[in-house]
Symmetry: C2
Subunit: 241 residues, 2 copies
């Protein structure tokens, strides 16, 4: 009976922890969506609000940390319970970093809103749409302890990597064609890289969920499709358009 | 007597954990130094070796994780001891990310080694030198539980941020002057950003050390000097030079 009570309390406290993580995930997703909306609308004021909003995610991470420490001290969990608490800590750390990247996108959007509109912004927005879905789905997978759903998220990362690699080449070409676009293109390159990193972190969360549910790492090697860092181009201004 | 034995074992196991972290820190520092040496020498083969070496750091992180879980399960630490184990986990995660950034520098160096030499590489190398020292010093501070030394590391981050911001402008100017340098400059921009992020993570480790020793976060707000993401430039090719 007493044992049962202790077990129940652990679950209740873990649920409290998971609620904060779900809240963090919702915020991170919203921060990404709003930073991209500001980017597309070229709205520097909106971007500044998004950048300021990152503090909320940071505060929630500290809340997760203190709830987790409380659980470790009071419940002294072992085996699967301990794994749950450590996974919560890891996942909240990753969400905090996703929030940081959204903040950086917002900051670059403030600069970009003062420059002429850029066509490749739409490819960036498409990439962000995929990553937003990944963040949403991986949080659902975490809450539902659904390893298969987590694996689906993991598989989508190659899509984001491929978009980033093609965007990298596209933006380099733009810069070569028109030196007036260099600053804007450079910021967009970093925006795209930030989004690609958010996708990586959603993938890391997916791997944590898989491990949490199955007790072992996913079998297949992680696919990597982002080869932008290896890009070598002939830096000649295209003769025609 | 039995109590004493348990306490001693905890300290011994924590020391084992700290040895692995010191090893991770040494490797991360070496990875950064070697990736920059490869960059300056334009040695793609050396860069490829550095990129492959990241696996070692990843393996050590997993070792830290399993030692930490073992400690949590067998010793059920509370208060300062629990804080030590959680700090070890956090710091090894940050070192793993520093290793990732070094790997990315190495990958971009492979591309850069196929392009003409770039003058701003030397500024990048100088930035890397500062960050390398930060990594070394913060690990020393961690092992010695020296909060003041950790605070010194924290204060050096503004130097790195300032170097990155000025490098950002310098590289944009290069690109505007000569479109043939755009791809190389873009890779160097990302290399510089990676190094700046390594500095951020050394700073995060410094904050963890401060918290570990003092039981509270550093009082002063963290200084941020990297304003490169807010850079707006007139994209006109300079008339002269």
């Amino acid at each position: 009976m007493a044992q049962d009570h202790i077990v129940k309390s652990f679950d209740e406290e873990l649920e409290k922890l998971n609620n904060v993580i779900a809240q963090m995930g919702g915020l991170a997703e919203a921060q990404l969506a709003e930073s991209i909306e500001a980017l597309v609308r070229r709205d520097g004021d909106m971007a500044a609000l998004v950048a300021a909003g990152d503090k909320q995610i940071d505060a929630l991470e500290r809340k997760v940390e203190s709830l987790a420490v409380r659980l470790l001290v009071l419940r002294q969990p072992v085996a699967a319970d301990l794994r749950s608490v450590l996974a919560a800590l890891k996942i909240s750390g990753l969400l905090e970093r996703i929030g940081d990247y959204a903040k950086n996108v917002a900051k670059r959007t403030i600069a970009l809103s003062q420059m002429p509109p850029m066509e490749p912004t739409h490819t960036v927005a498409r990439m962000a749409g995929v990553v937003q879905e990944m963040i949403k789905n991986v949080l659902d997978a975490y809450i539902a302890r659904d390893a298969e759903k987590a694996d689906d998220v993991r598989r989508r990362d190659v899509e984001v990597d491929a978009l980033n690699t093609s965007l990298f080449r596209e933006l380099l070409t733009y810069m070569m064609e028109d030196s007036k676009k260099i600053t804007a293109c450079t910021h967009l390159l970093f925006v795209a890289k930030n989004i690609e990193r958010m996708g990586d972190h959603a993938t890391n969360i997916a791997e944590s969920v898989h491990y949490l549910v199955r007790g072992e790492n996913p079998e297949d090697e992680r696919l990597k499709n982002d080869t932008s860092s290896l890009t070598v181009m002939d830096d000649n201004i295209p003769e025609q358009e």
